[in-house]
Amino acid sequence: MNEAAYILNLLKQGEKKGLQLLFKKYYRPLVLYALKFVRRQDIAEDIVQEVFIKFWEKKSFIAVDQHLRSYLYQAVHNHCLNSLEKNENRRITSISDYGEWAEEERLDDSEWNQKLEEIYREIRKLPPRTQEIFLAVLFKNKKYKEVAEELHISVNTVKTTIARAMITLKNNLNKKTYLFLLFITKNL
C-alpha cells in the first residue's frame, strides 16, 4: 500500500496519526505556497494550520480520495484569497505571481527538500565573509544598516556583497542546468 493510501486509510478510521503524517508530508510546502499570496510567514502558517484543522474537523477526507494533494493546495489557495481582503496581508509582487502552481509543481516535503538542498549547497560554497552577510540579510532578515553596524562596514559594502553573491549564485545555478542539459544531449 503506498503512502497516500496508508494515510487516507488512517484518516478514514479516525486516527489522528493520519493527520500527523499528512502534516509532515505537506505542511512546509503548503506554507511556501501560501507565501505566494500573503506577505508574512506567520500569517501563511496560520492559514495552513487552519486548513489542516478544518480538514480534520469537517472530515473533508471522506470524499477527497486520492486527490489529497490537489485538495490541500486548492484549500490553501482559497483561504489565502479570502485573507487577501485585508490590504496588509497582500504581497506586492508581479501580477504573474498570483497564479497557482501547476500540478507538477505541487510537491511534498521530501521533494521540496531535495529541490532546495541544491541551492543551500551553493550558498554554503560562498566565501565565508560573503556568506555571513548573505545569510544575515536573507535568512535572518536583518536590515542592511544593522549588518553594516555589526560588522563595522558601510551599507554600500553590504549591498555590493549581496549583489555579487546573487550574481555568483545565479551563474552557478544556471551553469548546472546547462551542463546537465549538455550531458543529456551528449548521451542520447
Partner: protein
Amino acid sequence: MEKIPSHIICLLLSSLKGQLNNADQKQLQNWLEAHPEHHKEIKQLENTLQKVIQVAHFKQIQPEKAWKNIDTHTSKRPGWKKKPILTRYSIAAGLLIPLLIGGILLSRLLPKEKNTPALSLVTKPEPVKPGSTKAVLELSSGEKIVLEESANQKIRNTKGEIIGVNTTNTIAFNSSANSCKITEKPNHIYVPIGGEYNVILSDGTQIWVNSDSRLSFPDHFYGAERVVELSGEAYFQVKHDGKPFIVKTKHSAIRVLGTAFNVCCYKDEASEQITLVKGAVKVKVGKKNYPLRPGEQLRSNPDSNTVEIRKVNTELYTSWKDNLFRFQDMPIEDIALKLKRWYDVNFIFQNEESKKYRFTGAVEKNTSLNELLRLIESTSTNIKFEIKEKEITVTKKQGVR
C-alpha cells in the same frame, strides 16, 4: 554590456520579499524599462532570488511547534469540534464580540433621543458587488442541485451512492467506479452570471468554470476517450492518464493528453479562443486539425470562416481563474462584455467612438464595480461612466481637447 548595478539587485531583492515602497518600486521599474538588454539576466536573478527566499522560509518553519498548535486545536476524533477556531489573521473578527457587548451597555446609559431623525430621502447608491462562487449541478438523472458555499455537501446519484463532494467553491467527483456502466448520460454544471466554480472530475482533471458557462461531463470516463462539452469559458488542467481528453465546443473540438489551457467560447462573442499554457493540444475546426504549442492561441471565427493562430501572453487569458481581471490594450466594449458577466450589469454606449477606447490594466475580481470603473475613468481623459443600478452608460467626456 555594463553590469547591473548593486543597488538595483538589492531593490529587486526587496521587491520579491514584498518590502518595497512605491517610490523605490517606481525607481526599479524605470531602470528595468530603460535597460531591456538586461532583461534575461534580471529574469534569471529573479528566479534565483525566488529560490533563495524559499529556502529561507523553508528553514525558518518549525514544524513541531505548528503540529502542537494543530493538535491542541483538534479533537481526538475527527468531526467532534463543531466550531472552527479563531486564528491570528482573523483577529479582527475576534475583537468584534467584546466591542458589541460594550456597545450594548453604553447605549443603555445614553439619554433617550427625543426625535428620531427622518430617514434621508436620498439613499447612497449601493456599490455593485462583484460575483461570487455559485453554481448549479444537474445530474444525469435530471435532478438539479444548488452548490452551496458551505463545506461538505455530498452529491449522490439515484442509487444513493456518494459520487462527489462539494466544499466552498470546488466540487470533486470520486474516482472509484463502484457501479458498472449504467448510463452514459452526462452531468451538467451551470455557472450563472456573477458566478464561478471549480470542478475536479473523476479522473483528477481540474476545471475552473467562468461566469455564464455550462460544462457537461460524465460520472466516469468509460470509453477510450474522455469527452466533455463546454459553452462559455473554462480553464482546464488535464490529468494525464493515457486516454486522450477532448473538449467539445460549438465550433471546435480540442484534443489533449495532459496539459493546461483556456477555452473561451461564449455564444454572444464572435469568435472562439483556445489558449495553450502548457503541453500540447490539437484543435479541430470543421475538417481541419490545428496543433498548438505553449504560448499560442487559436482564434476561430465561424462567421468569416477564419482560423488564426498567434503567440500571446497567456496570462491575459487565464488570470480570471486567479481572481484577476487583466486586459492589455483592450477596447472598452470587450472589457464591458467581461464585466457584464461577472457583475451582472448592462453597458450602454452613447456613441460608437466611446466603444473603441482601449485600456490596459489588472484588477482583483472582488473589487466593487464602482471602484473599478472609477479606476478606468481616472486613467483616461476621454471616458465617463454613469452608474444607475444595473445599467452603466458610457459617454465621451465633454470638453476634451
